[in-house]
């Protein structure tokens, strides 16, 4: 898995054909503005096609679950292997790995080593600090814009019932959470199906950034008797936005070239959540949803 070099694992900065560029943008691999030089009247329809094709593929291929018999057999196999003579190497290897993580024997070494480590860390810290000052905030703002552009477009695209039918392969909250937890490497904490909150569906998504992602959507009843649709996108958090845990931040959509959306982001338990609502959904109602999700509402300075 490690043979390929780092350069081969990056998307090319240029030289992509218009078709490859369009597919990469549709997949959330590149920001939408990369399409600007080749954009024409058909670009949005072609993007929509690619995203619909992905939804359809997910729907058609998502079927089989491991049969119970297999589950039992695999558990037995694992137990048998663990009981084999010599398998204590496994235990030792894992224990050694755990010890490395737990005790950091590095620090338990001689004073000279510790001092050398302090020196190295100090130099590295200065370097990292300079790097962050030079490129961190810019990268973060670029990611914020990519994220906001993508989720607002996906939210709007899936307002169409037929697109939603295709994308949302999970029709109950419980099923979606159960099946998406291993994918996300964490249990998503989302709104339950409740009075005034109707789960519309959930499915895999291509949110920009590293790691798998998914899209939950709800129809929320408003006090005036009408309803609005709200999306929650969830992905593994790789600190793309450097957020405080469990605190919502409002994305400055105007700085992202967007209007008509309220977009809030927060991180919790290793996952990055993005809530998207249209301007038909009051800001106060968004805050109510945050309260229901036990997420601290955004302070005025919590804006990205």
């Amino acid at each position: 898995m490690n043979q390929t070099n780092a350069d081969n694992q990056k998307l090319p900065d240029d030289g992509l054909s218009p078709g490859a560029l369009l597919r990469a943008v549709a997949d959330g691999e590149l920001p939408a503005d990369r399409l600007d030089p080749v954009r024409d009247d058909s670009t949005d329809r072609r993007l929509a096609f690619e995203r619909s094709l992905r939804d359809a593929t997910a729907r058609v291929m998502d079927g089989p679950r491991a049969p119970e018999g297999l589950r039992r057999k695999v558990a037995e196999t694992v137990a048998e292997i663990a009981a084999e003579p010599g398998h204590d190497r496994l235990a030792r290897a894992l224990e050694a790995r755990a010890d490395e993580t737990r005790s950091r024997s590095f620090w338990g070494g001689r004073m000279v080593a510790a001092l050398a480590a302090v020196l190295v860390l100090t130099v590295a810290g200065v370097f990292v600090s300079r790097t962050i000052q030079a490129s961190g905030p810019r990268d973060m703002l670029a990611y914020r814009t990519d994220l906001a552009t993508f989720v607002s477009a996906e939210h709007t695209r899936t307002l169409d019932d037929r697109v939603a039918t295709r994308k949302y392969i999970y029709s109950t909250v419980g099923d979606a959470v159960r099946k998406l937890t291993p994918t996300l490497h964490g249990k998503p904490e989302v709104l339950p199906n409740d009075d005034g909150v109707s789960f519309r569906g959930a499915g895999p998504c291509g949110v920009p950034g590293v790691g798998p992602s998914c899209h939950f959507q709800y129809v929320i009843a408003k006090p005036d008797g009408t309803t609005s649709t709200v999306s929650i996108f969830i992905k593994q958090d790789h600190n793309e936005l450097d957020l405080e845990e469990n605190t919502a931040y409002r994305i400055k959509t105007d700085e992202c070239g967007l209007s008509g959306y309220e977009i809030l982001v927060w991180r919790r338990g290793g996952l990055l959540y993005t809530l998207v609502a249209g301007d038909d959904f009051p800001q106060s109602a968004c805050l109510d949803l945050l309260a229901e999700l036990r997420v601290a509402r955004p302070d005025p300075d919590h804006e990205l």
């Binding site: 078709g19 096609f49 997910a58 089989p64 589950r71 590293v210």
Partner: protein, 193 residues
């Protein structure tokens, strides 16, 4: 990572590994055999000692590791069993420097979609794909993996992932376009495909 935690984490991904095995083998019995072999290999002491959690960058971790084993076991079997493994060999000769395919995707008219028709046609098209294309479609569409993560699992350059994914998508789109009924139902425009 403690041993129990390791086992628990590996077993949590059983459905995903089975799904991948099923789409590679296209047969539930073979898929079950494949999954058992994946787990048997994953829990061998020497294999576990090599386990590296790639999640800091790739986000894959255990699942990516199991997918990589599944991929290697399946394609090693194909290579062993085939007298002339031309398709697989050709496949692995792809390089990251190959020219990116330039065909834009067709346009999609969402006004007249017949989802049952689409599912049926797509299912047939996907089942007829080569396993390496089904595998990449699964990781891209269902598992939601990024190009970089897929590249790490398959141990190929990212350009190869893009090319392979493009071909798989194009075959599917062509299949839809070749089907008059699907064209009519989907409102696809042949001249723009």
């Amino acid at each position: 990572m403690e041993r129990n935690e390791f086992e628990k984490s590996a077993l949590e991904h059983l459905d995903a590994v089975y799904r991948m095995a099923f789409h590679l083998a296209r047969n539930s019995e073979l898929a079950e055999d494949l999954v058992q072999e994946v787990y048997a290999r994953a829990f061998r002491p020497n294999a576990i000692e090599r386990f590296e959690d790639n999640s800091p960058d790739g986000g894959g971790g255990m699942r990516a590791w199991l997918f990589a084993i599944c991929h290697n076991v399946f394609f090693s079997k194909i290579k062993r069993e085939a007298r002339q493994p031309t398709a697989v060999e050709n496949f692995f000769e792809e390089s990251s420097t190959e020219r990116q395919p330039d065909e834009p995707p067709p346009q999609w008219d969402g006004e007249r979609l017949d989802f049952e028709q689409i599912d049926s046609t797509l299912k047939d098209a996907i089942e007829e794909l080569k396993p390496e294309y089904r595998e990449i479609l699964l990781m891209w569409g269902v598992e939601g993996l990024k190009y970089r993560e897929i590249a790490a699992i398959l141990d190929v350059p990212i350009g190869t992932v893009m090319s392979r994914l493009h071909r798989a998508r194009k075959i599917i789109a062509d299949r839809l376009l070749a089907d008059d009924e699907a064209v009519a139902n989907l409102g696809l425009r042949r001249d723009e495909a």
